[in-house]
Amino acid sequence: MISFQNVSVRYPLGNVALEDATFEIEDNEFVYLVGPSGAGKTTILRLILHDLIPTEGVVTIDDIEFSSKKFNKVAELRQKIGVVFQDFKILADDSVFENIAISMEIKGYPENEIRKQVEEALSLTGISNKKMLFPAQLSAGELQRVAIARAIVGNRKIILADEPTGNLDPKTAWDIMNIFKKLGKSKTILFATHNTDIVNSMRRRVLVLKDGRITKDNKKGGYKQ
């Protein structure tokens, strides 16, 4: 379970990225983070990833508090989390297969297990025929599929998706959403987006953010601007 208790992030010049956020996300829950740019969606994801330290409040995963600067098991924490970035962040010198496999190599999986899980992820994301290609040979949609495959292999319990359809055309965006649908209830997913059509395509819990505050927590799903 992910838990935020009165979490705030303020920058030294007074900018507020997140203000007094309190919420809990159960295991295997799918949650949309919705709001305009600068609302605090990415801040929440970065806090979970320990890429940002809150100025106030406590963030925990499975009752382990890691919101302090002294937290020294960052790598261990991040190994539980798969991340899908808007700008993909795919390693340019590695093939599709290697890009996905690295997510498991980091965790020390044996080679045969890596091969098995990577093949499954390639199949799920529909890019089995591209596994030997390099990033420069792929389209944006294919790169995002690689990023999703990388996030789901290696038994990562939590998937953080930061505007994963933001750079994609509508058709590809829907294809990507279908992959997330296929992931079903096997993982905890936080999906940050400002695309209301995508949010309404799946009836899942929605956390609405505005100016760093959580303005609505719609557990039944659906969102109207």
Binding site: L49, D51, A75, E76, L77, R78, Q79, K80, I81, V83, K89, L91, A92, D93, I102, S103, I106, K107, R150
Partner: protein, 296 residues
Amino acid sequence: MNTILTSLRRTPYQTFAALSVLFFTLLLSGGIFVTLTFLQGLLHYVETRPRVIVYFQVKTLEEDIFAIRDKVEATNKATEITYISQDEAYKIYKEFTENDPLLLEMTSPDILPASLEIDAVKPEYLPEIAELVSGMPGVDEVQYQKDIINNLLNLTSTIRKTASFFFAYLMFMSIIVLTTTLSFKIALKRDEIQVLKLLGATNNYIRAPFVNESVTLGIIAAVAANAILIGTMLTLNAVLTSFFAGIPELTIFINSIALQVWPFNLAFILFTLGVTAIFSLFITLISSYAATNRYL
């Protein structure tokens, strides 16, 4: 291994710079190390053979010489005393000058002095024995290795001090060059490192390819430097054989373990290889850790 070689191939100039510096550092360090082991071996050889040589005036009677020998024996400070008569001295001289008949023609047994070679129980007795015999009748000159030992000690000490400074400088220079070279490579992969960190890679996982790469460079440099060193040793073998004529072997002791330095042998060559490899490993590990730490 393929990944390492590909990475080295992709940055040929940086690889060449790092390899050159490492190679010269290891070659020079190896050369100094071999020189020092030889000097140490020579010093040990001389130190373990404390000997006083007493030369007599040419007309000294054998009875007088034997009387001196008996007096020295009575002190119990000598292990062995060898008498070299004028005829024996001429015989030895003939052996040394067999390739130069002119020198032999100019010499006769009459002009060569008889001598006593006194092997002392320990080096500390050398001055006492020398002092005892020097005032005795018929004694022309007394020689012992005090000067040789002092000279060797001074030389070894000077070379050791210079070598320490040199080692430190070479090591510092190599670490700086290697760290800078690796830093360039790491800077190019800064985004990649950031992604790996977000995926949960540990610092050691991120560091490993850079450490492996620099250690590979170190191994290549150590092998090349040792190939040159061994080649040089074998080339100089004939010169050293004539230089060390009469010395059957030179040995050094490392924590009471004997290592034969001369004549060249496999154990000594492997030891030199090991020392340069460890030195190279030290440089490459420090450099790769210093370079990667800036980005972790």
